[in-house]
């Protein structure tokens, strides 16, 4: 039972990778087939950060396939975390921060689920969680750091400290975090899974290396020859990826650098509905945006194509 190993068990994590085919062959498939690789109880790590490059199409399909007892790990969590809580998909979240964004205050959904004890929130500093993914990506059980020392985050996370054998100083050793599944959204990939990201890379490259199974959606599928013309743009190699799906606007209503800005108006409406009706508003949102629309195209239509074009224009203005 691989999922039962301690998150820092680099031996078990390595055995799982050794057992997996490292193919440079075809990875392109449907979103349904990709997400069928997620099992109930899995530790799922999501790429991007807050409302940037969130793998929304993959989150949506995980909910549509009614996965349960997941642990969701993400550095800063946003609406995707709230949706998973209210849908009953997660038993636990691992994060450095959770809410929607500064203007909407502390997340009411997070408060409801965490304060009631229904979904424990395991808390790390932003760097510490990044180093946990990086340790896993490097195949080691921990990385040394000076962050979190002295704070209450050390005891609540069970982080061990070490007297440095070279200098005698105290170091925090943050334990590796090996996800069962990574879900990522990128700008482009070839059909063999070689992925390129524009703009801020967040933690995606580390998360991909850390996970046993890697699912990717891409805004664009490009020919392999195009990847080979700019190999220095590739941040995740094909042999790391298990399944790839072509999903334009795959982060919406969150942003994708250079392609579309996050839909802040939508966040405002969403937050206002929660202010009025609490988690019942989110249940309605799930029906309207997740369970209802049969395809991702139908989902996007709920926002309206005009909205998508507008957000694309904002993105071009900000990055050109």
């Amino acid at each position: 039972m691989p999922g039962a190993a301690a998150p820092y068990d680099f031996r078990e994590a390595r055995r799982r990778l050794e057992a997996k085919a490292k193919s440079s062959g075809e990875k392109l498939t449907s979103i349904e087939d990709a997400v069928a690789r997620v099992k109930d109880g899995d530790l799922v790590a999501a790429g991007g950060c807050l409302f940037s490059r969130t793998p929304m199409a993959l989150v949506r399909e995980i909910l549509r396939q009614r996965r349960q007892r997941l642990t969701l790990a993400r550095n800063l969590m946003c609406t995707e975390g709230e949706l998973m809580m209210v849908a009953g998909a997660v038993d636990k979240v691992v994060t450095a921060w959770m809410s929607i964004g500064l203007p909407w205050g502390v997340s009411k959904i997070m408060r409801e689920y965490v304060e009631s004890g229904r979904v424990p929130l395991e808390e790390w500093s932003h760097l510490a969680l990044g180093l946990r993914f990086r340790a896993a990506a490097m195949g080691v059980p921990f990385l040394p750091t000076l962050t979190m020392l002295g704070s209450d985050l050390i005891p609540v996370g069970g982080t061990k400290t070490l007297e440095c054998p070279y200098t005698g100083e105290t170091l925090a050793l943050v334990p590796a975090l090996f996800p069962d599944v990574a879900i990522l959204h990128v700008h482009r990939a070839d059909r063999f899974g070689n992925c390129q990201i524009d703009g801020y890379p967040h933690m995606d490259a580390d998360i991909a290396r850390a996970a046993a199974t890697v699912l990717v959606t891409a805004e664009e599928i490009i020919p392999g020859d195009e990847v080979r013309r700019r190999p220095d743009r590739t941040s995740i190699p094909g042999f790391v990826v298990d399944a790839l799906v072509h999903v334009p606007y795959g982060s919406f209503p969150h942003e994708c650098y250079g392609l579309y800005e996050a839909d802040f108006d939508h966040f405002g409406e969403y937050a206002a509905a929660i202010d009025a009706a609490g988690s019942r508003a989110v249940a309605g949102y799930l029906d309207r945006y997740v369970y209802g629309p049969a395809t991702y195209g139908d989902y996007l239509d709920r926002f309206g194509r005009e909205r998508l074009r507008r957000q694309a224009k904002y993105a071009r203005e900000l990055t050109r």
Binding site: L50, W97, M110, V114, E123, L127, T147, L318
Partner: protein
């Protein structure tokens, strides 16, 4: 009583901006800390480098298009580099980041900050706050850290319920003894004044009052005993030029708050 000439957020941003020197780097959160850094860049620190935790170095924030998060295109506007988030914080751990600018929910006499839980037990808190984000890392790793915050009794508490981000812990040498070799909390800039920490005990100490603020006002809004040295400065009020500049950065007054 005449209308104030600036809002509390404007006062914080101006006072914060004065803490930043030229030829330095500043790790800034969004909202007032970012406004303070941009103001410094435009006024007296043209070679200041802004660093934002979403993985952004050297952006030129577009006036009127202020980011609401550390991870979006408005925060990255015309940046010079976009490293991974982990690598961005590692610049701080290595010693490249001179100053960190953060806010805080609860703060105590030793500058410890709590953005995790208030009341109840840790796993069943009365109020669950969003968490550390990068605040713990910034206060642990930047060379100097400035906290910018509204000064209210409910924020300035005797002892924080949870140390999310370590100030001087129990005071004295306790921060250094915990292994935190680097960095220190140098200033707390509030809507009432500017505070430092006494060199030995590391207790919060009033250093300067803003114009027209009294010591009594500070005592009334602080839930612990603040050290009061003999000599207390008065800050120079925000200048017309500082306010003009600042208001041009946030013309929609998204973070500056409504003018009376």
């Amino acid at each position: 009583m005449r209308a104030p000439r600036w809002t509390p957020a404007e006062l914080l941003a101006v006072m914060g901006s004065r803490e930043l020197g030229d030829d330095t780097s500043v790790f800034a959160g969004v909202g007032v800390p970012l406004l303070a850094a941009v103001l410094a860049q435009q006024r007296h620190a043209p070679r200041l480098t802004l660093v934002i935790e979403g993985g952004i170095i050297g952006p030129r924030i577009a006036p009127g298009r202020l980011p609401i998060s550390t991870n979006e295109m408005r925060a990255a506007h015309r940046a010079t580099m976009l490293p991974s988030i982990t690598d961005t914080f590692l610049f701080a751990q290595r010693g490249f980041l001179d100053c960190g600018f953060i806010g805080g929910a609860q703060i105590d006499r030793y500058g410890n900050l709590n953005t995790s839980v208030i009341g109840g037990e840790y796993r069943r808190p009365k109020v669950r706050l969003p968490g550390s984000g990068g605040a713990n890392d910034i206060i642990s790793l930047c060379k100097e850290v400035v906290v910018l915050t509204v000064h209210e009794k409910r924020r300035f508490v005797e002892r924080v319920d949870f140390v999310t981000s370590p100030g001087y812990l129990e005071g004295g040498e306790s921060r250094r003894k915990s292994g935190l070799l680097f960095g220190r909390l140098t200033r707390v800039v509030t809507t009432l004044g500017i505070f430092g920490f006494d060199p030995d005990g590391k207790r919060m100490r009033l250093e300067a009052l803003h114009p027209e603020v009294t010591k009594d006002a500070v005592v009334a809004e602080t839930g612990f005993e603040i050290l009061m040295p003999e000599r207390i400065e008065t800050t120079e009020p925000p200048t017309a030029e500082e306010l003009r500049c600042l208001r041009a950065i946030d013309p929609e007054r998204r973070f500056l708050g409504p003018l009376a």
